[in-house]
């Protein structure tokens, strides 16, 4: 099992950063940066208008990095592609407490849990030093190979490769959120830049 923790400070207020985070996968200008994301759908949403709470579940369909040959043999034929990549459905569960200015996001894979389990937990909170101006972001990623994959004797390598890809994509995701924040900032000022 591998666990990675990351932190980042956005120099934008909480409401802007969380608005940007919602747009991360659906913003047309982000398609190139997040090209591993094939499709995103909202599957559930609940809005508690009395308490100011929002709960949503989205499916995120991603292309995996090319898999080692041995693991490919464990996949059903439908999942394999000539390049050795596979398609994976993840589910992202988000909860926003607007009065408390808290947003929590958990992403888990729902495909192939017999081989690998990935969980990514993120939080967005007002930064303790400048709560009205900055946002503190934390993210913990846990990757665990199942015994079936361990039998393949490549589990450790797979975990590492998977983790590397996750970290790359997390960094891209941060860049995308930063860019959308700047766009929203300009838009709020009444002068949205023409090129996002």
């Amino acid at each position: 099992m591998v666990v990675y923790t990351q932190e980042h400070v956005y120099r934008h207020p909480w409401d802007r950063v969380t608005a940007a985070a919602w747009r991360k996968f659906t913003d047309p200008a982000s398609r190139t940066a997040l090209s591993h994301v094939a499709d995103v759908h909202t599957l559930q949403r609940r809005v508690d208008t009395a308490a100011g709470r929002l709960h949503a579940e989205r499916s995120i369909t991603v292309r995996s990095p090319p898999l080692p040959f041995i693991l490919r043999r464990l996949l059903p034929a439908a999942a394999a592609s000539p390049s050795g990549a596979a398609i994976c459905h993840c589910v992202e569960t988000s909860t926003v407490d607007a009065p408390g200015r808290a947003m929590d996001v958990v992403v888990r894979n729902v495909s192939l849990r017999g081989i690998i389990e990935v969980e990514e937990r993120s939080t967005f909170r007002p930064h303790p030093d400048r709560p009205d101006d900055w946002t503190q972001f934390t993210q913990e990623t846990t990757i665990r190979c199942r015994p079936l994959a361990k039998l393949a004797a490549v589990a450790e390598k797979v975990e590492t490769r998977c983790a590397e890809r996750f970290l790359q994509n997390s960094a891209k995701g941060r860049d995308v959120v930063e860019r959308i924040c700047r766009y929203l900032e300009a838009e709020a000022a009444g002068a949205a830049p023409s090129a996002v």
Binding site: R46, A86, H89, C90, S111, V118
Partner: protein, 102 residues
Amino acid sequence: MVFGRSKSSSSAPAAASSAAAAACSELRAAYHECFNRWYAEKFAKGQWHKDDCVGEWHKYRACLEEHLEDKHLRQILLESETSYCVQLDPDSSSGQGAASAK
């Protein structure tokens, strides 16, 4: 990112959920546009007392119900109808506060 497969037997993995994507893309875009504006301009700024996008959501969701193929994802989608109110905080379920259908 991580390994996986779709339940669909499509020969092109990238097209795994393309049926839903193609059929529902306009309804999804309408919902996202509504949601993004509502979240940024109202909900996150303290005006959470009204859900502006109920109509857009119901249309989009109905489309997904018809076209979404993946078994796992369908299960989550269908859960949202049956367990809607049960899962909400009991203390916030008075009146219409907890309902998204109002």
